[in-house]
Symmetry: C2
Subunit: 387 residues, 2 copies
């Protein structure tokens, strides 16, 4: 039993920015443009967006400098601008960090209390300023989901909020805008997409085979096109397939069969919360070790399906061997094909915070209630194996 609801309208394909002005105008005149470190100025997206908006008579306000793993301080700045200027519509131009920060800005601007209290005190989300997104990197799926993640450097927390008021009203997904995304970010984004699929696919709920086929198809798409996008950054077909898959891997479509909390994301959020590493890189390093840690007789059938249907491992051997070859396939994909670093020590992380992070990853319940239940000692072991 589940509810499906994704009201976001998506304008997908080359040239879709031409519709931005008209869509923005339908929400009002005063728009807050949210973006990151200024790469959109180098790529020309900033100019294109501003031209569209000005041609439609919009008055543009700006909130720039949103950092990767966006911080509550940046969000508070954006909220202040909204309140002072009676902003009608918020426009995120960027990737997951910019979109997530914009989601918090669009709800924070409608309340009198501090935005962190939506998370810390679980205060109710009742209103939001309409949010538009122009996607410039395929990864988090924020352009089509109801989730946003925020970091608080004071408390060393990186926490997620899920609420239907966080759905963007419309998103503009033009694969050509991701041509300028570098190898490393493309690789990390692809690892993130795959992880979103893994987190849902690897579970015991067998009711909806149909959704398994959908996830397998999306995984095959990432495995096929991420290496192409790395080699040929302006390959439209590769960028388009990664972009559309990134949205569908996390927008709620595939959740029908699983309500389990996510394991690797819970463990990774501690890593990028403490060390500010790229989320997708952390996921790539942890995932194969998590797979090896949870592989047993009970989880074997799903690992076997994955190895055969997604990785194309031949079935002429023992099922456990097939499953293990599937995990090796994933390792090879992340660390050879995508050329990502393959251990925590290789990115300068040592074991001194593992215990604290393992405790925090398990949250108030004391365990991650995932496919296989993980207690702090399990999480610690997985961190240790990833070292």
């Amino acid at each position: 039993m589940f509810t499906y609801h994704i009201p976001t309208k998506v304008y997908f394909g080359k040239g879709q920015l031409e519709n931005l002005g008209n869509v923005a105008k339908s929400y009002g005149k005063r728009i807050l443009l949210v973006y990151g470190g200024g790469s959109i100025k180098k790529t020309g997206v900033y100019n294109s967006v501003c031209t569209c908006l000005k041609n439609s008579g919009m008055e543009i306000f700006e909130c720039s400098g949103i950092e990767p793993n966006p911080k509550v301080e940046s969000v508070r700045k954006g909220i202040e601008i909204c309140k002072q200027n009676k902003i009608d519509v918020v426009l995120a131009v960027g990737g997951g960090s910019v979109m997530d920060a914009s989601k918090f800005i669009s709800i924070g601007a409608c309340v009198d209390f501090d935005v962190w209290d939506f998370i810390a005190k679980k205060l109710p989300v009742e209103k939001s300023i309409p949010l538009l997104c122009v996607l410039t990197i395929s990864a988090t799926g924020s352009e089509m989901d109801n989730t946003a993640v925020l970091s608080n450097s004071l408390t060393q927390d990186k926490l997620a909020l899920m609420n239907d008021k966080l759905f963007p009203a419309a998103s503009f997904c033009d694969p050509t805008l991701t041509y300028s995304v570098g190898k490393y970010q493309t690789a990390c984004g692809s690892a993130d997409i795959l992880s979103h699929l893994f987190e849902v696919y690897f579970n015991f709920n067998q009711d909806l085979y149909m959704l398994d086929t959908q996830m397998e198809g999306m995984m095959k798409t990432v495995l096929k096109y991420a290496p192409i996008a790395l080699k040929e950054p302006e390959n439209y077909e590769a960028r388009a397939n990664l972009m559309w898959t990134s949205s569908w891997a996390i927008n709620g479509y595939i959740y029908g069969c699983s309500k389990n909390p996510w394991s690797c994301h819970a463990m990774e959020h501690q890593l990028s919360g403490v060390y500010d590493i790229t989320h997708g890189l952390g996921l790539a390093i942890l995932t194969p070790h998590w797979m090896e840690y949870v592989l047993d007789e009970r989880t074997l059938p799903k690992f076997y399906d994955f190895a055969v249907n997604v990785c194309g491992i031949p079935t002429d051997k023992d099922k456990m061997k097939v499953a293990k070859e599937g995990i090796e396939y994933v390792k090879n994909f992340f660390f050879n094909q995508l050329e990502l670093k393959n251990s925590l020590s290789a990115i300068g992380i040592d074991d001194k915070n593992f215990e604290m992070m393992a405790e925090k990853a398990c949250g108030a319940n004391g365990f991650i209630n995932g496919w296989k239940k993980l207690y702090p000692k399990d999480v610690f072991n997985i961190y240790q194996a990833s070292l």
Copy 2:
């Protein structure tokens, strides 16, 4: 370049009717209950629905007797009831025919002109009464799309209208409500679902491989579960997979890669328009002959993919042979596994209207602009081959 937008909220799974009352109430007090020949009274769905609505304080009006291939006369009756009783919300309880009739009722009740003029004169759709659907048969996908089909016995037309105002506001999809659907209707519904996938899958636009994987997964789901549902009508897993696939096969998700008009549907609408046969049966009879007619060197690669990825045909032979075995697989599925009649003559249709129907199927353009362009003589040949 495409736009994706499906605002319908779906309550999926056993027991979801319990939410119907609250959802209905949020739109107002006066509800029009639209249904067909009364089978919902035998199955108990009628009572369950009325109880939910009354418990939420709704005032129920009724429009019953919607026939398969719904006729404009029935829709006019429903519109009259809406206008006389200031209906706030329309509730369709049934399958594609009831939902499609309800869609026309919900837009027809908001205008002064005759509802057929939305089709005949292409008058604009600007308003609709909110529509809710309780799905009792998996087939047309109307519960989650913006399309409705209406027949006019006076003009022997069966025509479709696509408009965003035709999206249901919410749909209740409880697989247990399809337990009572008989073998024949289950088979026809499954043929309809498959055909929706074929119409989009078989095309030349190769940009979005990801959507091909999604369609292949949905086809595999129908091939796997339709025979199970025929044998075990109360198998939840089978009914749930067919139900969720039926919605996604036609709600717009898979259209991203193809804007081609549909071939088999255009040809079949003439058949069920003139002879009032079940839509899915007409599709099952025509489809393999359409496949054989359009198979050539240009279309071979997609037929080959289909045969291998969906039907599991071994690749140890000539590609054309693999493709042909895929088509044989479809025939065997429709006519042996689903036990559907395999020719037009077997259901009492002769060739006397073929010429007229072939002309009409090609419409004002003079051809069906599908995967392979079909002129009246082609359509005539396919009808003839299906005889």
